[in-house]
Symmetry: D2
Subunit: 316 residues, 4 copies
Amino acid sequence: MRRNLITGGMGLIGRNVAKQLVADGERVCLFDSRGELPPDAEDLEGKVEILVGDITNWAHVVEAVRESDPDCLFHNAAVLLAPLERDPAMGFRVNLEGTFNVLEAARLHGVGQVMFPGSRSTFGPASPEVVFDDTRQRPVNMYAITKLSGELLGEYYGRRYGFDFRALRFPVVIGVGRQLSPPISDINSMIEHSIAGRPFVSTLHPDVALNLLYVKEAVRAFIRYRDVDGSRLSRKTYNIKGINLKPAELVKVLERHLPRVDIRFDPDESEAARELRKAMSKQMDESLAQKEWGWQPEYPLEETVKDFIAELGRDG
Amino acid sequence: MRRNLITGGMGLIGRNVAKQLVADGERVCLFDSRGELPPDAEDLEGKVEILVGDITNWAHVVEAVRESDPDCLFHNAAVLLAPLERDPAMGFRVNLEGTFNVLEAARLHGVGQVMFPGSRSTFGPASPEVVFDDTRQRPVNMYAITKLSGELLGEYYGRRYGFDFRALRFPVVIGVGRQLSPPISDINSMIEHSIAGRPFVSTLHPDVALNLLYVKEAVRAFIRYRDVDGSRLSRKTYNIKGINLKPAELVKVLERHLPRVDIRFDPDESEAARELRKAMSKQMDESLAQKEWGWQPEYPLEETVKDFIAELGRDG
Amino acid sequence: MRRNLITGGMGLIGRNVAKQLVADGERVCLFDSRGELPPDAEDLEGKVEILVGDITNWAHVVEAVRESDPDCLFHNAAVLLAPLERDPAMGFRVNLEGTFNVLEAARLHGVGQVMFPGSRSTFGPASPEVVFDDTRQRPVNMYAITKLSGELLGEYYGRRYGFDFRALRFPVVIGVGRQLSPPISDINSMIEHSIAGRPFVSTLHPDVALNLLYVKEAVRAFIRYRDVDGSRLSRKTYNIKGINLKPAELVKVLERHLPRVDIRFDPDESEAARELRKAMSKQMDESLAQKEWGWQPEYPLEETVKDFIAELGRDG
Amino acid sequence: MRRNLITGGMGLIGRNVAKQLVADGERVCLFDSRGELPPDAEDLEGKVEILVGDITNWAHVVEAVRESDPDCLFHNAAVLLAPLERDPAMGFRVNLEGTFNVLEAARLHGVGQVMFPGSRSTFGPASPEVVFDDTRQRPVNMYAITKLSGELLGEYYGRRYGFDFRALRFPVVIGVGRQLSPPISDINSMIEHSIAGRPFVSTLHPDVALNLLYVKEAVRAFIRYRDVDGSRLSRKTYNIKGINLKPAELVKVLERHLPRVDIRFDPDESEAARELRKAMSKQMDESLAQKEWGWQPEYPLEETVKDFIAELGRDG
């Protein structure tokens, strides 16, 4: 029975990876500073081991690796964009020192494989509209800088110490229970309010597509990529594209599936909002992932919305 | 009188920047884990303040910034390529945590300007033969990864907290007193043995050019760039090209200036040596530095060798 | 207007010190990992500055000291006994590194005075029934070890760098809103249930006195001691005695003040419980504090209970 | 074959423990920031494993424990009194964080036994002339504070995690090759100059006894104590007394063994010197060590001097 350790295991990607691995009959240990499973993951109770610890405290990390003795370590623990813009020093501690702690603990314990979620944001605002795996990365915020450093440090540690580090660059990941900051959180809100039959006014632009990834797609990519034979891979880090979601299209899909959808748009036209939309509209080319390890997405917009509605219905 | 703090102040670039600044009538404080000036910098005795400290100990860094209250902080402290390949964990501590300590101390104290030496190695082995300022950087060793992270963190901190961070990417820097690892150290050795009239056998290839930068050129670039009006700059980090030195040409120059030069080549043709030569032969385009802030190099090969000989004569 | 910085400012002692200082017309800044004032301190809203930060992150600590520029820094941030027994490594980080960060930040910024809450537990289980200021301290749990180290480091830093460090050793502090572990929490529970008119069964022994300190008394001692002329002091750390509370006596007092008190005792006679009772029954002699700086307690058992009832009534 | 790891293995006690263990047929691994064996320990070359690392870098410590997989870990790495008075922040990092790293690494790896050198200085200047194992400890300098904290943390970790932590409190240890600060270094100087037939003037008082321990005695105590059956021990930390050496008596002993001794005294009567002499004249009672685990010293003054002379002769 394969053993997995997931840092940041209570986070959106972490707990959804856990659900899938448990369903696949694997053992899973969640490491997180929070000890409580969030509502949408309460079914994991009793099916996973939970280790409460601080990723910046090396003794906690080494202990977690020893306790769980994983074949594969998913290193998901990270603070996201918005809190790091308020507090960059936390980003150095949690995202960079945390990654150092994990990589050192992995190599010292002899963990065979480390999986890491990279980020589209590492390409930066000066990148072209479509970025390829080898497009220049020039991150300009603390989150993106720590994600690029994590990619590079992980690839280096894997080569240097002989373990199998693999990373996937994700767009912003959406899913039930995600704590996002506005206006990205509008996507979740549009779905949730429509299910509840409540009206919602969004500050997004209805016709500017946002590049997003449904969490179940991220989970599929992560696990598929984890398991593929390394001899097929030309590199260690691949782009995953996700979907291009125009808010107006989301409304149409919601209207097909829900009785009462009342969404209006009042686009924020401030410079910051425009820049964020521009950054969010960039998309990653994933043809290499498709070609080299057979990646095929299964959650286009329609499927994403249907599943999202089903999941929210289940929790409610 | 302008005040400068130089971390890694006993290192090759640090002490040579100090010499120039002192000659220019500025105040200089050197922060280093070593308390003794090396032989080629003994003339700085009494002309600079020396603070012994550990860049990984934040209290030392904050204290140094408080004590020296600098207008400009040159953050040169770093462990170089070879020792980091033996000990990557040291690289995280010294190069990454050290840079975090410096950037936080600078912003907390309100330092106006931070200068940082980047590295050509950040472009990585997959880069083209000539790299431009905006060429993709994909570093693959611990030193280069920490240098790219330093560039990105510095640019971010400068934007975020409103101070003037500026970086220059240098090729390998040579100069009197430099501790390099073979075979790069062969360049220094060829000059030093020829001055002493002793024979020397190099494992370098005589006809494969190496891209190098004479320390005095690095100092000129650093100080010129520090002082240029920021409104002329389109970015915060620029390439500095240096010279392309074929070992065989170096021999010819040495023969023009020294009575007895006896250098033979026995090129190391191992794969590692070939790769290193390939990496070292790449060159950076510096046309943007020339155009935007009027950078003009003054140490072509002939001048470099002449000055090197003069400096070695002075110390001996 | 005197300026105060309180680390752990959302904690029981911290927020109650803040209330008194605000009432006295002083400026107060609270530093804590939590950003929300607890219910019993909501009246501080708008009257104090709140800085959210991590005591183990030096940049947060230095920034807090710079922002608040305090005349006096109360260093209350610490993890308590029970969580540290589960996780000693957290104790090293929060209690020891946190104290180092605070002491270094204080001396680097030139803070004039640092106040520190020590602990009776530093005397250890082998100490006599009554301990004096100079009785041997031999702590045997992580909390107590870090508290003794804090006393010693603080006294040292004060001497070494010329600031006024002062510490008071407190027994277990009780008060409204305190999160304690059983069976100590029984004290709070007995009062709270009696106010609500609900029955309660305690595992304490009715006739074994526990040495406790009411938080308002701790606040009085802290502020009185902060303000006393240093020339009157023979040392930097003093014992504060508190009250010896027999649970059975508490019941009698409660019966005098509340209409319906229904408390029964079912003493836990396990070895661990007996040892804890023994440790809690030890008392500190405070005659030196009384003699040297005129300390006089004002909250004997009756007053403590009356005030506790009044405070709980206010919040409810 | 028993395996030992010695942190600070190049230090005076560390390398002499190594010599004895190697002579006893045990395996020894030295961990130190210095990679070179000092002259008086060059005979260890090839007989011990040497790991170069930084005690403040947890990854180095964990790696050393993994590499050497010790039955017994001697944690000797520490910065001494004089440098810590100049730089207390270094003391926190090296002595306290270093000890935390070692204790956590030991428990995480399952090391059975950890030996720790405590210090007489932990008793502090206010202690009586003769201190017993249970005399109050009130250290007042950074070195002594970190040594007491080390004792307490070690005892706690041993109890908490079930390994066998044992400590011995030593007076100042003397021996060939020791780097001490004046005036304590006068003891070494008196012997060395007399062997060389050179005159020496000491600032010590000829008739004030100093409490010292010869390094070979320290080694004997450490190894004897390591091996004794734990059931005989009433505690984990014991005093070791050493010898009371009056400088004038040392001269007499030297005169019995060397042809030409020319030592004069010009006592430093400054307050600092008097205080240091007073501190150094205090002695520890070791009767418990003698009674409980059969400790018997074998190096009275005469033997210490004879052996010291023999050792210096060997190296010279």
